[in-house]
Every structure is written in C-alpha cells, then in structure tokens.
Amino acid sequence: MEITVNGAVRIVDAEPDTPLLWVLRDNLGLTGTKYGCGLAQCGACTVLVQGLPVRSCVTPVESVAGLPVTTIETVEQDDVGRRIVEAWVAHQVPQCGYCQSGQVMAATALLKQVAAPSDSDIAAAMTNLCRCGTYNAIAAAIRNVAQG
C-alpha cells in the first residue's frame, strides 16, 4: 500500500485496517507521534491529513491512501508550524512533553484555518489532554502566534 507522508510516497506492508499510528511509528520509524489512549480521546497521536487534525490511533491506514499526511517531524517546514514551535519554546509550554507533539499539530491546524481564533475557538479546537495541565501555556502560545 502507498501512503504519502511528509511529502514523500512510502510503500508500506500493512493490513488495510492497521491504525495509521502503528504504520507511522513501527513501519516508518516516525516516533515523534505518540501513543496515548488508543481511543481517540487524548490526542497524543494527532497528525494532519489534508491539513486537518486527525487522531491516527483510530484511523485505518487504508483510509488515508492518496491523502497528504503531515507529522511532527516536518511540521516546522510549514510557516505556521514553525511559528507555533517557536512560541512553544518561548513560552516553555512542555513539562513532561508526552502530549506535546499532538498539541503542536492541533494548534498548527487551528491557526492555518483561523488566523485569529477567539478563546472559544481555541477551547473548541484544542481538545487534546495534558496530564501536566499545561493548558494555560498552550493557549498563551497560540494567542501569541495569532497576534504575530
């Protein structure tokens, strides 16, 4: 099966119902995307498919064949993604860091769609969980990027 990850066409040997997350981590070695709950609840596994945030743990790989997938490994090649990562560093958002690649992907998707999100837009889009409770720092970093 052929899938397009970070701009490159990759051939993977996997059952069609294998979760995209497993293919990314185990077949392609892209371990920046994390396994959290496996139930689409926590968001640690968020990647972008056609620019929209997708929880890769519940996404059968067959369903993204032919669609562009972007992971945390190349998010900085995107202008918005790069500014998000810089703001993350400036605000020292991560504590343990486990959920943060998913948070960065979700924030990038939000700002690419809504350049100046309201607080309720941020709350609606950033449903990823963080057990360290970095939510305030995440919201501050997003607002910072939105204001330029």
């Binding site: 059968p60 690419k112 809504v114 609606a124």
Partner: protein, 447 residues
C-alpha cells in the same frame, strides 16, 4: 326450566370438550412413529442448520454451557427462561422422539401437549423443511454435550401462566406451513426466502408486532413484513427497499458483506444484530448469503413511510471544517467526541468506522438505536475468530442526557439527514433501562 338447562348443557359441554381437546392435543408430525434409526446426517449438516436458526443465541447464557438454557426473557406478563435443549435425559430433550422434537420446533408444542411461549420463534421455524428438522434433531441428540441443568419456572402468575390459551394464539397467528418455493423465482431467491422467513427468523426482530405480540406478517407477501420494529431497546430497521430507513441504497454485495464480515461501507453490525452476526450469519455459505441478499432486495419499500429520499448535503462538513467553534452545542460535542472517528464529513472510515451521513439508524423513525449505542457503545464484533480493531466507546458516563439529546438532534439533521429531534427525556429513559444496576433494566424481550 330444568329441561332447558339440560338441553343447553349438552352443547356447552360439547364445546368445552372440543376446546379442551384442541388446546391440549398433540399435533400430527410427518415423523410420527419413526425411531432414531432413520437418521443419516453428518455433523456438519445439523450444525449448519443450528447456525442458521441461531438456537444458541437464546438457549445459552453468557457464562453457561452451550444450549443449556437459562436466559431470562422479559414479557409483558413476567419473566420466562429459555430451556435446556441439550440431550440430557432428565433435564434436557434427551428423551424426545423426532416427532416430539419436530412438534416443539415447528408447531410450538411440547411432548406432553404443553404449548411453548412464542418467544420460541416456531411461527418462523414452521417453514423448516423436513430434512432440516431431521438434521437439527440429529445434531442435538448426537453432537451436543448433555448438560444436567433444570429449567427455571417462569415468574408469570396464575392464571396467566396457563399454557392452553396459546393453542388459540397459534391458531389465530401462525399458518404452520412448511416453506413452499415460488415457481416464478429462481433457486437462489427461493433459498434466500426460505432462510429469511424460516430458520433465520429475521422477522422476530425486524417485523412490527401487533397487540397480541404476534408478528404482523410472516412472509414477504405483506407490506408490514420486515418493515422495522423496536425490540430490546434497539430499533431493528426495515430490511425492505426503503431508501432512507431500509436497504434501498444497499447492493446485493453490500448485504452479503454485512452478513459475512459484519461490516460494509454503509455500517457495522451493532446491538442485537451484532449477536446474530457473531453467532449465526457469518457462518452461512456464500451461496446462502447471496440468496438472502437477492430475496431482501426483492421486497419493495414504501415511499409514504420512508419520506423523501436522502440526499447528501455538504453544508455540515463545511461548518465543521472551518476551524471555528460551532454555534450549535450538539455540533461542538460532535467535534470533541465523535469527529475523530466518524469524520467532519460524517463519512466514517471505509468499512471500518461507519458513516453517520445517511445512516439508517439516524434516519429511522425511532431514535432508540442511536441513543442506545451512544450511551452503551458497540459490542465486540468477532469476525472469523478475530475481534474488531475499532469499537464505538460507551459515552454513558461522559455525556449527560441533555448533551446526548443535543448531539443526536444535530446528527439527525446533519449532512442532509432529516429526522425528528431527540429529547433528553428519551435519553434518560433508555439510560435507566440499560443500566444493569437499575430495577427496570431491559431483559431480553420476546423474540
């Protein structure tokens, strides 16, 4: 006066005598007088008929031995328990002759003339061929492990627990006919009709029931047959060619895939159908499934009942994909809880995660199935011995009645879906009835 009474008494006694005979008689069976020696069927043949009839679904409990009975079934009068149909001589059916077995399966009459409750789907099993009854008898007598487990008495109080009135019920609501092939149809269609109307007893869930709990129709000649019904907290949808609420948009291949793999591009088995899939339909041969598909696709829909045909509408997808917080509370819940799997476009993920856009369970007149699966999640779909990779989670403890009502009201109006709103009270009722700790829990109803 005395003579008048006496002359009246004679016809009254005669009527009573005929009535008593009729309601307690043991009907004739084509196998009367035959011993066990006439059997010559293979294990596979009988086991296959037992799979077709899905006997195990009711005659077993989750942790009990196969076919040893004991499953509680709620009826409007009280709870009855399914019986031990293992060949144990003392507590099972080990001493049944073939004719007695036949009378129980096809006519609902026990060996002592006692009538069975029609929770046993004998009105459908009446269609079984003599050969299939023989094969089934052979399977239960010679290949099922005998288990000594006494049957439990029902909780129905006297006088409602008398069985003889059921003879009158049977006379009124069953035709007791073995399946007769329709010569104007081909062999595959006739095989499908036999399986659906007979051993498959699809109508037990999918056909609406009348006041006496009888199925309103037992074969495809009536419009009510397989037109959708509420049972056990699930709405078993129409299996006729209704565009919105039935199989109108399904191809024959879609039906075969659904019954063989448990999933297709339209949906995944859930609720009571998941049990029927796990225990029965996936074991059917491809030819038999093809016949079922052929037969079901020949049953016309009813546009008056079904409403204007569903047309996809992408406005919902655009609203959910804009990145902005949706104004509707139901849509916000959808984005946070559901969209990761079912998608902003409501199209699911291939055959693995079902679509909600145009989904039968969301277009159905009764929202019970949608409420039930949101509260309690999907069960374990086991196809070919492997359980499913993607399963609907239970949201009972995460969403309130009001949130679920808003969510489902949104979904019943999204992507071109047009169905009535769901109220918090409806969700609350089903939450109570599907809570195992509740005293009003739904136990299996009449099947």
């Amino acid at each position: 006066m005395k003579r008048l009474l006496a002359s009246l008494a004679i016809p009254v006694i005669a009527v009573l005598a005929v009535g008593a005979w009729f309601t307690t008689r043991i009907p004739a069976s084509p196998f009367d007088g035959q011993g066990k020696s006439s059997l010559s069927t293979t294990l596979e043949r009988g086991e296959y008929v037992a799979r077709l009839g899905d006997c195990v679904a009711c005659h077993s409990t989750e942790r009990g031995a196969p076919f040893s009975g004991g499953l509680a079934m709620g009826t409007p009068l009280g709870t009855i328990f399914t019986t031990n149909i293992t060949p144990d001589k003392a507590t099972g059916i080990g001493s049944y002759t073939l004719a007695q077995f036949d009378n129980a399966v096809r006519r609902g009459v026990g060996p002592d003339g006692r009538r069975l409750y029609p929770a046993m789907p004998y009105p459908s099993y009446a269609r079984l061929s003599d050969d299939d009854v023989k094969a089934l008898y052979d399977y239960f007598m010679n290949h099922v492990q005998p288990v000594q487990q006494a049957n439990q008495a029902s909780t129905i109080p006297w006088p409602m627990n008398m069985r003889w009135p059921l003879a009158l019920w049977s006379a009124a609501f069953t035709d007791g006919r073995v399946y007769r092939p329709d010569p104007s149809r081909d062999a595959s269609w006739n095989r499908g009709a036999y399986l659906v109307e007979g051993p498959g007893h699809c109508g037990s869930c999918h056909t609406p029931r009348g006041l006496a709990m009888q199925e309103e129709a037992l074969d495809g000649s009536a419009k009510a047959y397989l037109s959708g019904a509420l049972l056990d907290g699930w709405y078993a949808p129409s299996l006729r060619n209704d565009h919105n609420t039935g199989l109108g948009r399904w191809s024959e291949e879609d039906i075969v895939a659904y019954l063989k793999q448990g999933r297709n591009r339209h949906g995944v088995v859930f609720g009571s159908m998941m049990e029927a899939f796990n225990n029965s339909t996936q074991f059917m041969t491809d030819d038999d499934l093809q016949g079922i598909a052929r037969y079901l696709k020949s049953l016309p829909g009813d546009p008056d009942r079904d409403g204007p045909p569903w047309q996809p509408d992408s406005a919902t997808t655009q609203m959910l994909s804009s990145g902005a917080a949706p104004a509707m509370p139901g849509a916000a819940t959808y984005l946070a809880r559901c969209a990761s799997c079912h998608g902003r476009d409501g199209m699911g993920r291939g055959a693995w995660i079902p679509p909600l856009a145009g989904a039968t369970s969301l277009l159905a007149p009764d929202a019970s199935s949608a409420i039930n699966i949101t509260l309690n999640g999907g069960g374990r779909v086991v196809a070919g011995g492997v359980s499913d990779a993607y399963r609907m989670p239970a949201l009972r403890s995460q969403l309130s009645d009001g949130q679920i009502a808003e969510l489902l009201t949104f979904l019943r109006g999204a992507w071109g879906n047009k169905a009535a709103a769901v109220t918090a009270a409806e969700v609350g009722t089903l939450r109570q009835h599907t809570n195992p700790a509740s005293s009003e829990v739904i136990v299996l109803q009449m099947r």
